[in-house]
């Protein structure tokens, strides 16, 4: 975080809070590891959301109080969690039937790159000495109805993560629906990136300069939401 222009745009928790506003009541949701996990803490009061973790649990609750956890009750990030009333356990093939079969409404993931057509790269930089690891990411983007991405708008080195075409190995093709960054909320449309909302203190030019693909400005009226 020390390399980003931290005075401009949303913090990680503010990004999670912003994405949480768009999660509908009653949704079955899978949250990726990292910033996406924080979304659960910011669901607006009055909404009930059921969390799926691909290692076999629907109805996942927050981390346990110290000393009360079970090492065999964990989330996909292998951190200890709890179960909420109405929860269910199941095996991996059933869990991914929920994912691949289109039963999970929404998934929030992190990203290395997102292309203007919705291609997502989030599992490998393709570096020759890296240990390749994909987990459930390819299944999630292939099967979940709606894919949200939460990410910093640029890398720590200042490179755009929203690009014309991904250079990193893909997780899935044309799968991303919405992107929540520190600078803006952006919809992926059939025509490319559509700006939906600017973070406080950020203007269109600031975001467009940091987006390596055309960015359609917010339309005043009749905007598709």
């Amino acid at each position: 975080m020390t390399h980003t222009a931290s005075s401009i745009g949303l913090s990680r928790d503010e990004m999670a809070r912003r994405a949480a506003l768009d999660i509908p009541d009653g949704a079955y949701v899978n949250l990726g590891i990292g910033i996406p996990e924080r979304v659960a803490a910011y669901i607006p009061a009055g909404r009930e959301v059921i969390y799926h973790t691909e290692n076999g649990l629907l109805g996942m609750g927050p981390s346990p109080d110290a000393g009360t956890g079970d090492p065999e009750l964990i989330n996909a990030g292998k951190r200890q969690v709890t179960v909420l009333p109405g929860a269910a356990f199941f095996h991996h093939a059933d869990s991914f039937a929920m994912i691949r079969g289109g039963h999970i409404d929404l998934c929030v993931l992190g990203a290395l790159q997102i292309a203007a057509n919705g291609d997502l790269a989030n599992w490998s930089t393709g570096a020759p000495d890296a240990i390749p690891a994909v987990g459930g990411a390819m299944d999630l983007v292939a099967g979940v109805k709606t894919i949200y991405v939460i990410t910093q708008h640029c890398t720590k080195g200042g490179e755009a993560k929203l690009v014309e075409a991904c250079t990193y190995p893909l997780t899935g093709r044309a799968v991303v629906d919405r992107i929540y960054t520190d600078l803006a909320v952006i919809e992926v449309t059939g025509d490319g990136f559509q700006l939906v909302e600017l973070s406080p203190g950020v203007d269109y030019d600031y975001v467009a300069e940091r987006t390596a693909a055309p960015l359609m400005p917010i339309a005043d009226e009749g905007r598709e939401t």
């Binding site: 691909e54 356990f89 093709r173």
Partner: protein, 236 residues
Amino acid sequence: MIDKTIASPEAAVADIFDGATVLVGGFGEAGSPIELIHALIDQGATQLTVVNNNTGSGEVGLAALIKAGRVAKMICSYPRTTNSTVFPELYRAGRIELELVPQGTLAERLRAAGAGIPAFYTPTSVGTPLEQGKERRSFEGRDYVLETGLHADFALIKCRLADTHGNLLYNKTARNFSPVMAMAAKTTIVQADRVVAPGDLDPESVVTPGIFVNRVVAVPHPAYESELVAQGVSYP
């Protein structure tokens, strides 16, 4: 009279042979059959192909089996985890093979093998590097990749409660891959925290029916990877 119980982990894994394909249950430490894996290390079988979601942590359980040089090839979805150092070192040194499989495809390949389905089409991995070398086919305008069932010689799994017929109940998210691994292996070996008599389990609550299980060993108070790693244990 059917009684699948075996006296010890050592006896349960005695016939695992060099070059065998072995499914190992667990997601991280949840459901990892550490006592069976340690018995396999003691037994000495080598050149194994091992299937697990991960590659173990520290130098206990699956990571210890890999460290002992017994694993020629890992088939998994996520070979990097906290405290996972054994596999990365061997992989970078070119001393262990890796077949990377998306997690849901891994589960379905096991389920298919156990269900008599030789292959299936999945949308997962279309357009990605993991599609390479696989047949693609379009159904109703969408592309899918052909994946094959994943059979094995043995499965090593852990459960909370078993009866002597091999009916199994698991503990929370320790269930994960174990039910489909039990289906996919020729010989399924189970360590259970507790073993009870037929009739003591409610048939409505059985998760893995005993037909998929060959051997059951009682291992009361099984160890957890995280506890052993915290204690600085390096097996053997």
